[in-house]
């Protein structure tokens, strides 16, 4: 029980320290830190309206975070969530455009999900395969694939697939209003949140309660040991990457089918990179990703209010995320070093 306590106490403490540092930064920048914190709270969780904005932003973050968290359990640092999200969203939009009107919405939406997950899993699965079978550094290759995905999206969206009616922001043709993911109940929160939470829970179960997840942890902890025990290390690594990629691809599909209705450059709005932060904050635990994504979604949602109420640049939330990320990583050094957080030695 106390080991669990340590893995909650240290990130929480780090979060407090980073908020303190952020407060000092805000104070130096000439704003009142307490009022700014109050505004962040109001903009993120202060009203039902704010909650809805926060939760809508949290949904893609949960899924892109999985794209870093699952490979991380198998020992790989993958930062390709952005590219997988773009590739997934774009392929989902193509599917939606192609099937629009010929099939009932239920089938179109299912096909879009399936195609987005398939694209995402191939996208990041390739990263894992290149790493294991060819020795290509996964961090760099996934980063390069981000740029390639964005360039491909731009190429098609500005070129042959452009809807001539979208002048200011070149986009593909719409997938059709009937094929949109609706809102949950009477809220303005789309079903993407529900999907995100379900997938996080399902993958937590897979990682923590099955032999597959255990094998992945072993491979991530010590490749030699995993090979000696006869685990199919290559397959585990590729599967971890493919599952993560599928999640990020689904995030792209949700952005297309629940928010924009078409594919455009809003797909690379930075959810992929913010997902890396969420994954590290959650220490690559799929269940912890849910609250962390909501927290980060809230911070991002409050950016507009900070601009209006305090005349702070919209990059303020970026600075805050940067400080949180740095402090959380630094806090990794504290595990096992704080005596009052250690479990008591069991009597033999």
């Amino acid at each position: 029980m106390k080991a669990h306590f340590e893995s909650i106490a240290i990130p929480s403490g780090a979060l407090l320290v980073s908020l303190l540092l952020f407060g000092v930064f805000i104070g130096i920048a000439g704003a009142n830190p307490f009022e700014v914190f109050a505004s962040i709270y109001r903009g993120a969780f202060g009203s039902w309206f704010a909650w809805q904005d926060t939760l809508v932003r949290a949904a893609p973050l949960m899924l892109t975070a999985l794209c870093t968290a699952l490979p991380a359990r198998a020992g790989l640092i993958v930062i390709g969530g952005e590219g997988a999200m773009v590739a997934g969203g774009f392929s989902a939009a193509l599917t939606g455009i192609a099937l629009n009107g010929t099939f009932p919405p239920f089938i179109v939406i299912t096909c879009m999900m399936f195609v987005a997950m398939l694209t995402g899993s191939l996208w990041i699965g390739a990263v894992g395969a290149l790493r294991h079978y060819r020795g290509v550094n996964e961090t760099i290759s996934s980063l390069l694939l981000n740029y390639i995905a964005i360039a491909l999206l731009n190429f098609f969206v500005v070129g042959m697939l452009k809807d001539p009616e979208t002048l200011n922001k070149p986009s593909t043709y719409p997938i059709g209003d009937a094929n949109m993911l609706g809102a949950m109940g009477s809220s303005s929160i789309h079903w993407g949140l529900g999907i995100g939470i379900i997938i996080c829970i399902a993958l937590w179960f897979l990682m923590r309660r099955t032999t597959f997840g255990f094998g992945m942890d072993v491979a991530g902890g010590n490749v030699r040991a995993a090979q000696l025990t006869g685990l199919p290390v290559g397959r585990l690594i590729v599967m971890a990457c493919a599952l993560g990629g599928a999640a990020a691809g689904l995030a792209g599909m949700i952005e297309v089918a629940a928010v924009h209705g078409r594919a455009n450059t809003s797909l690379n709005a930075g959810y992929g990179y913010a997902g890396i932060l969420v994954a590290f904050l959650a220490r690559h635990n799929p269940l912890a990703i849910i609250p962390v994504a909501i927290l980060l979604g809230g911070i991002r949602a409050s950016g507009g209010l900070l601009q209006r109420a305090h005349d702070l640049p919209d990059a303020t939330t970026l600075v805050m995320q940067g400080i949180i990320f740095v402090v959380i990583l630094a806090s990794e050094a504290l595990y096992g070093r704080l005596p009052w957080l250690q479990p008591k030695a069991q009597p033999a």
């Binding site: 060819r134 491909l152 500005v158």
Partner: protein, 308 residues
Amino acid sequence: MSHEEIGLFGILFAVLGGAIRVGTPFLFVSLGECLTERSGRINLGLEGNLVMGAMLAYGISYLSGSPWLGVAAAAGAGAMLGLLHALLCQQPRVNDIAVGIALMLFGTGLAFFWGKPFIQPSAPHLPSLSLGAWSDSPALRSALEINVLFIAGIVLAPLLAWFFRNARWGLNVRCAGESTEAALAMGLNVNMIRLLATMAGGALAGVGGSFLSLYYPGSWNEGLSSGQGLMAVALVIFARWDPVKCVYASLLFGGAAALGPALQSAGITWGYYLFNAAPYVLTLAIMIATSSAKRRLPGLPGVFSNLK
């Protein structure tokens, strides 16, 4: 001379000039990353240094009227971010790649935060040398309009190679990069070596950023960098951890990135965005072709051998 002929040479010169102009920031970040990695640490956060350097160089140049003061400030800011990276990474269990990603977020966030007032005004630029004055072709003349920072970069590369090969400090850096244990046994302060190498590398990345805002494209805005700092790590792998090869790699990348705009200026607009992907596809293809699951990459510092 017919219009088409000028078009073809125009493309060639535009790619050449673009290779130098677009390649200069690549050159500085790759030299910086090369130095850092040779000491045994990877700094993935040079994008933060680059953007921070670009913003600060522009701001200082605007406020003081001296672009060189701007370059110095950019180098200083880059060194500070490098210092932060080094101090975090020498803690136990802190992953240097993750710290790089965090500092990239932190550096770009700070740059955007403080850079807001500098988006509008125009700051004095860095001077350039007209090496093409002998030619009467305007395309060639504009291609050979060479910035002094580029010249500083190509002078620095062989100096750095000499430093690694012949200087005592350079050998110490390489020793720390080859084997932590051996360096400790020699009585070297490995953490200090890596700290200084990361700071110097970060400063170089900051200078690369100052080129972006003070010469080409030559203004400060939030979309200034298109990931040049992130590409540093890939470039260094491409250049096999050899500073002189970093020059070739940067020029090749600059040329690949200049291909789309050059074709566009010659009237070929098809596939402009596809050519944007050229440098990334090129790097990925080269990494796939040269990597191996079994042996170590030639030139790879020894401490990375477990991570390939």
